[in-house]
Symmetry: C2
C-alpha cells in the first residue's frame, strides 16, 4: 500500500471566489488531507452466531415485554400506535420483529456532503470516518491548565480539525463555548464549522428550534435545493438509557429525519448504572434501544439516514466514576459492531477515550485501546477520535494532536497488506541475500518514501540528541505542534456572499431573543 | 466471565521447607497470581488464503534458490547435508517442502514447568503467556533517571515480576547487570530468577557454555531426572537476519534442543534494514528464516520444543532509528501469527514496545498498539510484555508496572463474553425498566465485584479530589506502585539445601575463570 493509495491530495481550493479566495490563494500553504478510511482488513467477530441470536432474541423480548418510554411526546406515541405498537401511558411495547422490520428502510450507507466536495464522506460499508471530540465544557492546554471553554477555544479546535490531515470530519460541539448564551451558542458553533472548515459537520440537537437553525444555515451554505436533495449534517441523538427517549432529542431527530439529514441514534451508557453490569446484558439493551430509535426515525421519514450508535463505557465500582479503554468496553464495542452489521446499518462507536485528567500515559493507553478496538469493530463513524480528556469533561489541545497523529496509523493498518509483485519484494530478497543489508537495495530506494507510516509528532531521535535538545516528553512535542498548526492555519475560501448571509443569519437570530444561560 | 474463572488464586507456598519457608509463612503477604491466558475470542486474520499461499510459496523459493547461511558451524552443515539440503560453502539451500516437513516433529504446544507447579505454563494453542522485558543495558526510574543497569536492578525487576499478578513468566535478561563480568553475569541472573521468583524463566544464550550452565543450575533446582523429562526453560535464539544463523546462537540452540529445553527461534528484524521495506516481503523472509531454524532444531533432536518467533519492527526512513507500535509492525505481527498457526507451532511476538525515551504518552500509545495487536494476532508467548523503553535500550521501573497493569485488561478481553443466563441479565433489565437505575438492582449487587476489570494503577478520581491530592500523572502513580511492590516483596520459599547448592555452583564457576568484560 503506497500512501498515494490512501487518497492523500493537496486541497485544490477550487471553490469559492472573490477577495477572500484570492487572498487565500496568494498565501496558500500546503493543506494535506486524506480520504476517509476504507478497510481492507477483516473485522474481529467476538460473538459467535449463537450468541448473536440470543442477544437479538433478548432485545426483541425487551421491546415486546418491557418496552421503551417516549416522554412528553404524544405525536411519537401516535406514530407508534399507528405502526402497530401497544401504548400504555408513555410506554411503547413493540411486537417482536416490528422494530427490525421498520429499520429496513434506513440506508446501509449514505454520503454526507461537505462544502468542499473533495471532503464528502461515505458513512457505512467498509468505511471509517473520523470526527473529533464532542461536548466538553472545559478545555486544557499546557500553558493555561484546565478552564471553562470559550468560543475562542471552539474556533481553535475547529481550526486544528481543519489542519489535521487524518481527520475527515469537523465534528460538532468540539467544546462548549460557555461564554456564549446557551440559547445562542449553537449559532456561533455552526458558523465556525461552516466558515473555518470545509469538512463535513454536525448540527445542533439541544432543542428542536436549534436543529431547525442548523438546517436553515446549511441551506445558506449549500443552497436550498442541495440541502433538500443531500445529507449535509450528521447529528448526535442520545438515548436516555435505559430505554427512554426524551422529547428534546426526539424533537431534534424529527426535524433532521424530516429534512433527510442524518442522525446517530446512540444509547449513552455507563455500564452498571444505565445498563446491566454484564456485557451481554448491555449489548441486549443497546440493541433494543437502537432498534426502537432507528425504527422511530423511519416512522418519521422512511429512508432517513441514521447510524447505529453505541456510546458505552463501564463504571469503577469503587468510586462510581466512569472508566475508559477497559476490556469490557472493548467487548461491547466489538459485539455491537456485529449487531449493527446484521441490522444493515452504519455503526458509530469508540473514540480516543480516557478517564485521565492529563494527556499522560494513562490517557494514551486508554485511547489507544479504544482506537484500535474501534478499527477492529468495524466502526463507520468514530466521534471523539481525537482531543477527548477526563471522561469527556475536557477538550485537550495537546491530546487533540496526539490522537490525530495516531489516526494516521489507523489508516495504514486498515489499508491491509500489499500483495502485489512489488509488495512481495522477492527481487529485493534475492539481491540482498544472506547477511546483506536492505537500506541500499533498489527495492528500498524505490519504495522507502511511502513504505512506512510517518508520525508528525512522536520522537525517534537517539537519546543523546534528544537530551541535548531539552528531552521533550510527548506533551512538550504536542504543545509545539498545536502552536504550529494554529499558526499555519488559513481559512478555506468561501463565497463572500455566502459568508455575509451566514453572519447576517447569526446576528438576526441572536438579536431576536435575550440571552439565556440555562 | 467472573474474575475467579481467570484462575486467580492465592499462592499456597506449598513447596519448599526448613527455616526460610517457615519465615516466609510467618510473614506471608497475600501473593496473587493469575493463570496464563486462554483465549476465548477469535484471532484477527489479516491475510486471506491466497495471500498466505503466496507467502508460503515465496518462502520455499527463498530457501531453495537463495538459501541460508550457517556460519562457522561445520556440524550444522553436515546435519543439513544428511537431511537432503544442498551445501555450498556456508550456504544451505533447502529443497522445497523439506524444511516444513522437518518442522512437523516440533510439538504444537508444550508445558514449561516452574518450580512452583501452580505456575507452570502451557505454551501454544489458544494460550498466551506473558513475560517481561529482555535485554536492555540501561535502566530508568523517576528518581535516578537513565543509567547503566546493575545486578541490583536485575534483582529488583525479578522481584517486580514475581509481584506482578498478570505476569506469568519471570523472563530472562530483564536488564543487563553491567557491573558483573560478561562471562559470569549469566550465573547471577539465573540465580536471581531461581531464588527470587517461583515463575518459569529463560536460560542464557550468549555462549554454548552458558547454555550448559543454565541446564546444570536447572538440574540443581528441579533435580536431574525432572529436567531430563520436562521443559524447564524457554530461551531466546535470535536469527541474524537476513537469512544468517551464527554459531553462538546455534550453539546454544543445539545444547537446549539436545536437552529437550525450549527455544524461541526468532528473526530479529528492523524492516527496511534487515528485511525488505514491504510487509509481504518481510513476512516471506520471516517465514523462510523460522522454517530453516525450526527445521534445524528438529535435526538436532526431533520433537524438541520450539516457538515460531517474530521480532519485527520498522525503521524511520528519516533518521534510521527503529520505530515501534507502528501499523506495519502490527500487520507483520498479525500475518506471522497466521503463518505460525498454519505451521502448527507456538508463536512468539509483540510486547509493550516503544521508541520513546520516557514512559510518557508516546510510550503508552505505542505499547498499547503492540499489546492489543499481540492479543489479536494469537501470540502464545509475549516477551517484553512490560518494562520495555527506548527501543529496548532501557528497562523502566515505572513502565514495568504501567504495562503490567494493562496486561490485566488483556486477560479480561481475551476471556470473551459471558453468555450464561446471569451474563444475559434479562432479570436486571426487567427489574430496572425504562428510566431506572442499575446500581442498586439485585443483579448488580450480585455481580459488581467481578464484573469489571480493575486497575491497580490508573486514576479515576474526580478532578477536584485528584488535584487536592497533588494532581499525580501516571508516572507519579507508577513510581508509588514500584515502591509498594518492592516493599511488599517476599521471596518464595526454597529448600535451603537447594539454595545452598545453587550458591555453591555460582561461586565455583565464578572462581574458576578470571573476569572478562568483553
Amino acid at each position: 500500500m503506497a500512501d498515494s493509495d490512501l487518497g492523500e491530495r493537496v486541497g485544490r481550493r477550487a471553490r469559492g471566489g472573490g477577495g477572500a479566495a484570492r487572498r487565500a490563494e496568494r498565501t496558500a500553504v500546503r493543506m494535506e488531507f486524506t480520504r476517509y478510511i476504507t478497510r481492507n482488513i477483516p473485522d474481529l467477530e467476538i460473538l459467535n452466531a449463537e450468541a448473536l441470536e440470543i442477544i437479538e432474541a433478548n432485545a426483541e423480548t425487551v421491546l415486546a415485554e418491557i418496552g421503551v418510554n417516549f416522554v412528553d411526546n404524544p405525536a411519537a406515541l401516535e406514530r407508534w400506535r399507528e405502526a402497530g405498537a401497544e401504548i400504555e401511558g408513555e410506554r411503547v411495547r413493540i411486537p417482536r420483529g416490528l422494530a427490525r422490520q421498520l429499520c429496513a428502510t434506513a440506508p446501509r450507507e449514505f454520503t454526507q456532503a461537505a462544502r468542499n466536495p473533495e471532503r464528502n464522506v461515505v458513512i457505512g460499508g467498509r468505511n471509517l470516518v473520523l470526527a473529533p471530540v464532542y461536548g466538553p465544557p472545559f478545555v486544557r492546554d499546557s500553558a493555561n491548565g484546565r478552564r471553562y471553554a470559550t468560543i475562542t477555544d471552539f474556533r481553535n479546535f475547529v481550526k486544528l480539525g481543519q489542519m489535521s490531515k487524518w481527520l475527515h470530519h469537523s465534528g460538532g460541539t468540539v467544546c462548549e463555548p460557555t461564554d456564549v448564551a446557551v440559547n445562542k451558542r449553537h449559532l456561533d458553533m455552526l458558523h465556525a464549522h461552516m466558515t473555518l472548515s470545509d469538512k463535513p459537520y454536525m448540527g445542533s440537537v439541544t432543542e428542536p428550534s436549534r436543529a431547525a437553525d442548523s438546517v436553515e444555515m446549511s441551506k445558506i451554505l449549500f443552497g436550498d435545493a442541495f440541502v433538500d436533495e443531500n445529507t449535509v449534517m450528521t447529528s448526535l441523538i442520545n438515548i436516555n438509557s435505559p430505554l427512554t427517549f426524551d422529547s428534546t432529542m426526539m424533537g431534534a431527530l424529527e426535524i433532521y429525519a424530516a429534512a433527510n439529514q442524518a442522525c446517530i441514534i446512540s444509547p449513552f451508557i455507563v455500564g452498571g448504572a444505565m445498563a446491566p453490569v454484564s456485557v451481554a446484558g448491555t449489548l441486549t439493551q443497546v440493541l433494543a434501544e437502537v432498534l426502537a430509535g432507528v425504527a422511530y426515525s423511519q416512522l418519521v421519514r422512511p429512508g432517513a439516514p441514521v447510524i447505529f450508535g453505541a456510546f458505552v463505557t463501564s463504571i469503577d465500582m469503587n468510586s462510581g466514576a466512569p472508566t475508559f479503554g477497559t476490556p469490557e468496553a472493548s467487548q461491547i464495542t466489538l459485539g455491537a459492531g456485529q449487531l449493527a452489521r446484521r441490522l444493515g446499518l452504519p455503526y458509530r462507536s469508540a473514540g480516543g477515550f480516557t478517564g485521565s485528567k492529563l494527556p499522560d500515559a494513562q490517557a494514551a493507553y486508554e485511547s489507544a485501546n479504544t482506537l484500535n478496538t474501534g478499527l477492529m469493530a468495524g466502526v463507520n463513524f468514530m466521534l471523539h477520535a481525537c482531543g477527548w480528556l477526563e471522561g469527556g469533561l475536557v477538550s485537550s489541545y495537546e491530546k487533540f494532536v496526539m490522537d490525530a497523529d495516531q489516526l494516521g496509523a489507523l489508516h495504514k493498518l486498515a489499508a491491509g497488506i500489499d500483495m502485489s509483485e512489488n509488495g512481495q519484494a522477492m527481487g529485493a530478497i534475492r539481491e540482498v541475500g544472506p547477511g546483506g543489508h536492505y537500506l541500499g537495495c533498489a527495492h528500498t530506494q524505490a519504495n522507502f518514501k511511502d513504505a512506512f507510516w510517518r508520525t508528525n509528532l512522536l520522537d525517534y531521535r537517539p537519546f543523546e540528541t534528544w537530551e541535548e535538545q531539552g528531552a521533550p516528553d510527548t506533551m512538550a512535542l504536542a504543545e509545539k505542534r498545536v502552536a504550529k498548526l494554529l499558526g499555519d492555519y488559513q481559512p478555506p475560501p468561501l463565497d463572500p456572499g455566502v459568508a455575509e448571509a451566514l453572519s447576517d443569519y447569526v446576528a438576526r437570530k441572536k438579536a431576536a431573543v435575550p440571552d439565556a444561560f440555562l
